[in-house]
């Protein structure tokens, strides 16, 4: 159980310091109404709030003045003072009007301008007493209003929080519902572009990624999770087939040269993101072809080699130079590459075998080597009875491949199915294909017997206490040793990075690479399995993306933030089953070596599956009355860290409704002095006057040659009516023009089940606000 401490801040600096000390679990009290309401309603879950920092004692932050062409309003200015200020009512009428229309007379005496713009949303699911609904805005996974009582909610689509289950669970953080929404509009190119923001290897991941994104899909509550994997695969193929449009040579050239060592998922991903930024990228690949594990480890029945080759081909089409057959450390020294290039990325994967601790290692084969030989064209395997040691992804790939080559291969694993690190789907497939699994079996020794065969000595195990990985530790059953006879024993225990060619200064005491957020030292970076050890393709790809970001920043590049997209409203369809993916039956699979077990969906099928996506997002509205006025006046919000233009100030960040960081405070609001003759107006509709959170409000600021119109309480953030502004800009305003502008303002509005009325109301309020600007003259 948590308690709340009250502390008083003596100054802004003091308040910031207290916020910093409290991690993300403190809030400031700048009037207290919103916060007190939230505490009473119990909407702050346990552990989210333990300290309240009162700003009541801070002085000197409540003045209103004009200086250097700006109106400057202290953050702690009371709404009442704002509403009664002559300067504001003379030159910034809409702002004063907004302040006068906020809450009741009593609350305006306590409420501050900063408190008003930072208040939480009023969605009743969010506010429900006792935190009953763990909605998206609380870090939950579902928007209850989308399907429930939504008469006061958004008419301009929903906004996504970072906590959407699919995006949250995806190691690459891909905006899955966004590309699904594009597909629903038959915009495959747009969908592919969204996917490419985070995933340049979708044709690969669409085939081999375990798709963590499907685990908590909200659709499963209705029927089954959306088959994100199959849709992604379709888009991945689309990208390969439309590479000329989608994977172009960048238009800028930074003249920065970057060497990427290793052409696997991490290296290719990093190369793609670096090349997109206009850097010159060269990949050094030790094998004959690039692709790494994609090319040389993952079997063709999961990922055909021609697809990998095509993927590499389209990436090189962007101008990424790939040098095959060059082993760094042997053919060329790392030091030399570091001298010749501006930055170097080590992404050499984890290929080096490890000591297994099993006696008789000389009799065992490496699973990865075997897969590599098969990927290189080996067609036959003389051994018939084969033991595959391990329970990871490599073990599954090896055992299923051997089975297809005619061997009687089985898995020997020391724990149970539940603890297997392999992707569960692949274990299922192996079992379907008739592969035997010896669980709770620990190999102890391999020896050659008199017949020339191999004898594997094993011990039976049982599960004991949990170990550091959270899995129960297998312990031997005393006296349970037994013997099995095989023609070959293959290890697939997981491999490690080869750091043999790295200078000692970059290594730690254990001989591993010393990496700090992808940075090694000088101009050297590292990523992928080379740093993390064996992982999935998606994780390696994401690591490559992060390394590319670090390198770009190192070379002076600026990070581009993708804004939260808002594409339509959450939706609930009739029961529609998940599309079955076209897969060969197990008996045919075990004969299939070079072809794929699973085919891609047709366009129509991919579109139908995308149509099952619920488009989960938040439909609450921002309820600030001052927000639209501040946007319409092009205000800047000054914080202790930065200057945020009002238009970018509000967000669906969790927790909160602004772009502010946990240790960031609004200090001042600045508004550029409007041109001579500027007229402004603010109108609001609320259900009752005293508790009057807006059902809708609108502010307009109109000058001789410009117009800015902003609506609020119509979306999770204030909405600029750009199209309406275009209609009235520079024109003499009359009834007809204002009406036409209002039509445009709601042109893209979308109703929820219970709020159709808000669209006509928005139209009326925009028209009246524009007309009020005329009258103000």
């Amino acid at each position: 159980m948590n308690s709340i401490q009250w502390e008083s801040a003596k100054s802004v600096e003091n308040a910031v310091q207290k916020l910093e000390e409290s991690g993300k679990k403190a809030r400031v009290c700048a009037g207290g109404t919103d916060l007190t309401g939230g505490i009473k309603e119990g909407i702050y879950p346990d552990g989210q709030l333990y300290k309240i920092i009162s700003l009541d004692e801070i002085t000197g932050k409540d003045s209103i003045c004009e200086a250097d062409g700006w109106l400057r309003i202290g953050a702690l200015t009371k709404l009442e003072d704002l509403g009664e200020n002559d300067l504001i009512n003379r030159n910034y009428f809409a702002l004063g009007e907004a302040a006068r229309n906020t809450a009741s007379d009593h609350l305006r005496k306590k409420g501050t301008i900063a408190g008003n713009i930072c208040q939480d949303n009023r969605c009743w699911y969010f506010r429900a007493e006792g935190n009953q609904y763990n909605c998206l805005r609380k870090g939950g996974h579902y928007c209850y209003a989308a399907e429930g009582e939504n008469e006061f909610h958004s008419i301009f689509g929903a906004m996504r929080t970072k906590e959407l289950p699919c995006r949250h669970d995806c190691p690459s953080g891909i905006d899955i519902p966004d590309y699904m929404a594009r597909i629903r509009k038959s915009d495959f190119k747009g969908a592919a572009e969204i996917l490419l923001e985070n995933n340049p290897l979708a044709a690969m991941t669409g085939r081999v990624c375990p798709h963590f994104c499907e685990m908590n899909c909200n659709r499963a509550a209705t029927d089954e999770a959306v088959s994100i994997r199959e849709v992604e695969r379709y888009l991945g193929d689309y990208i390969l087939n439309h590479s000329e449009e989608l994977l172009k040579v960048p238009s800028v050239n930074t003249k920065k040269k970057i060497a990427v060592i290793g052409g696997g998922p991490a290296g290719l991903s990093a190369s793609f993101f670096l090349r997109r930024k206009g850097h010159e990228v060269t990949v050094f690949e030790s094998q004959k072809e690039a692709g790494g594990m994609l090319r040389y480890a993952i079997p063709a029945y999961r990922l055909p080699k021609n697809i990998v080759q095509k993927q590499v081909h389209v990436l090189s089409g962007m101008g990424i130079e790939i040098k095959n057959g060059i082993r760094v450390g042997k053919d060329v020294q790392l030091e030399r590459i570091m001298d010749e290039y501006d930055a170097v990325l080590l992404a050499c994967g984890a290929w080096k075998g490890r000591s297994t601790g099993i006696k008789g290692e000389e009799f065992m084969l490496s699973g990865l080597n075997l897969l590599r030989e098969i990927a290189d064209g080996r067609k036959e395997i003389p051994e018939k009875r084969v033991a595959v040691l391990g329970g990871g992804n490599t073990a599954m790939d090896v055992v299923r491949t051997l089975k297809r080559m005619g061997a009687d291969a089985r898995i020997i694993y020391r724990r149970t199915r539940a603890e297997m690190p392999a992707i569960s789907h692949d274990v299922d497939k192996a079992i379907e294909e008739g592969i035997c699994m010896d669980y709770l079996t620990q190999p102890l020794e391999v020896s050659r017997n008199t017949d020339g065969n191999l004898t594997l000595t094993c011990s039976r195990m049982e599960l004991g206490e949990s170990d550091a990985s959270g899995r129960r530790r297998p312990v031997p059953v005393a006296g349970s040793e037994f013997l099995m006879e095989f023609d070959a024993v293959v290890t697939a225990f997981g491999e490690t990075a080869d750091t043999g060619f790295i200078e000692k200064e970059y290594l730690n005491e254990k001989g591993g690479l010393a990496v700090n957020d992808g940075y090694v030292g000088r101009n050297l970076f590292a990523g992928g399995d080379y740093v993390s050890g064996p992982s999935t393709v998606t994780e390696a790809m994401d690591s490559g993306k992060k390394a590319a970001r670090a390198i770009d920043a190192f070379l002076g590049g600026k990070e581009e933030k993708v804004c939260s997209r808002c594409i339509g409203l959450p939706r609930m369809d009739e029961h529609t089953p998940r599309i079955p993916y076209p897969e060969l039956p197990p008996a045919e699979r075990t004969q299939n070596i070079d072809g794929e077990d699973v085919c891609s969906l047709a366009e129509r099928e991919a579109a139908a599956e995308a149509n099952r996506c619920l488009n989960c997002a938040c439909v609450a509205v921002n309820c600030s009355d001052l927000a639209p006025a501040l946007v319409a006046f092009h205000a800047n919000i000054i914080t202790n860290k930065r200057i945020i233009p009002a238009e970018k100030f509000w967000s669906v960040k969790v927790p909160g409704s602004t772009a502010l960081d946990a240790d960031e405070l609004v200090i001042e609001i600045r508004i550029p002095k409007p041109a001579e003759g500027t007229k402004s107006a603010f109108l609001k509709y609320a259900a009752r006057e005293t508790i009057d959170f807006p059902v809708l409000n609108c502010a307009a600021v109109i000058s001789a040659d410009d117009a800015c119109i902003c609506m609020n309480a119509v979306k999770p953030v204030p909405v600029r009516a750009f199209a309406a502004e275009d209609v009235i800009r520079g024109k003499k305003i009359d009834e007809a023009i204002a009406g036409a502008a209002a039509e445009e303002a709601v042109h893209s509005a979308e109703r929820l089940e219970n709020n159709t009325y808000k669209i006509s109301m928005a139209k009326a309020i925009v028209k009246r606000t524009i007309m009020a600007c005329r009258q103000e003259a």
């Binding site: 159980m1 948590n2 308690s3 709340i4 401490q5 009250w6 009290c29 207290g32 109404t33 916060l35 007190t36 309401g37 505490i39 009473k40 309603e41 119990g42 909407i43 702050y44 879950p45 346990d46 989210q48 709030l49 309240i52 009162s54 009541d56 809450a103 009741s104 007379d105 009593h106 609350l107 005496k109 306590k110 007493e129 006792g130 935190n131 009752r688 006057e689 005293t690 508790i691």
Partner: protein
């Protein structure tokens, strides 16, 4: 008190100045001023109706400003001068404050639940503006809801109370010349807030 997801284990003792007296209280950290005034000081003139800052029934004066005590964290009230409806009558004679008397005389209440809040809002107004217009009264009382709909009579009562207070002040000023002591005594009773 409803505190939902948070509990109030850590308690801090604070001093509240209410109706001219000092009280040492140890409220829960999430308590509102209304909770403490009612539950710990027994001041039931603070009415809790909507409990979300919409109705004004819980209005008290804090440093002379009308304040919704249901939305005021008690921790923020420390050190402030708080005046409730209980602090209005003459503490010695029990004589009603002129605003209270005007409400009675004008029948400006039906059920009476909103009345303390109305009177406190009116007091804040008249302290600052002894001669308000009807419009100014309506604005000052706009945060107080009367479900019985006695708004017209309330406005009349406040207008009358303003006149009575002005009258008292005038009398006081004229008496001042002859009997300074007496008028000061009278004034002190009605200007506790």
């Amino acid at each position: 008190m409803q505190t939902g997801g948070v509990s109030n284990m850590e308690k801090k003792t604070i001093i509240l100045h209410v109706n001219g007296d000092q009280y040492e209280v140890t409220p829960s950290s999430t308590a509102t001023l209304a909770d403490v005034l009612r539950d710990e000081l027994g001041l039931m003139g603070i009415r809790l109706m909507c409990n979300e800052g919409a109705c004004g029934a819980c209005t008290v004066l804090m440093d002379g400003e009308p304040t919704l005590s249901c939305m005021m964290p008690v921790m923020e009230a420390e050190g402030k001068e708080i005046l409730t409806i209980e602090g209005l009558p003459d503490p010695v004679t029990g004589e009603l404050h002129p605003i209270q008397q005007a409400f009675v005389d004008h029948n400006a209440l039906q059920c009476g639940f909103c009345t303390p809040g109305m009177i406190m809002s009116a007091k804040a107004l008249l302290d600052k503006n002894p001669d308000p217009t009807e419009k100014e009264i309506r604005k000052a009382l706009s945060g107080n809801i009367c479900r019985c709909g006695t708004y017209r009579k309330i406005t009349e009562a406040v207008l009358d109370a303003a006149a009575r207070l002005r009258n008292i002040k005038q009398q006081k000023n004229s008496t001042e010349k002859t009997n300074t002591e007496k008028s000061e005594e009278q004034e002190s009773v009605w200007s506790i807030g």
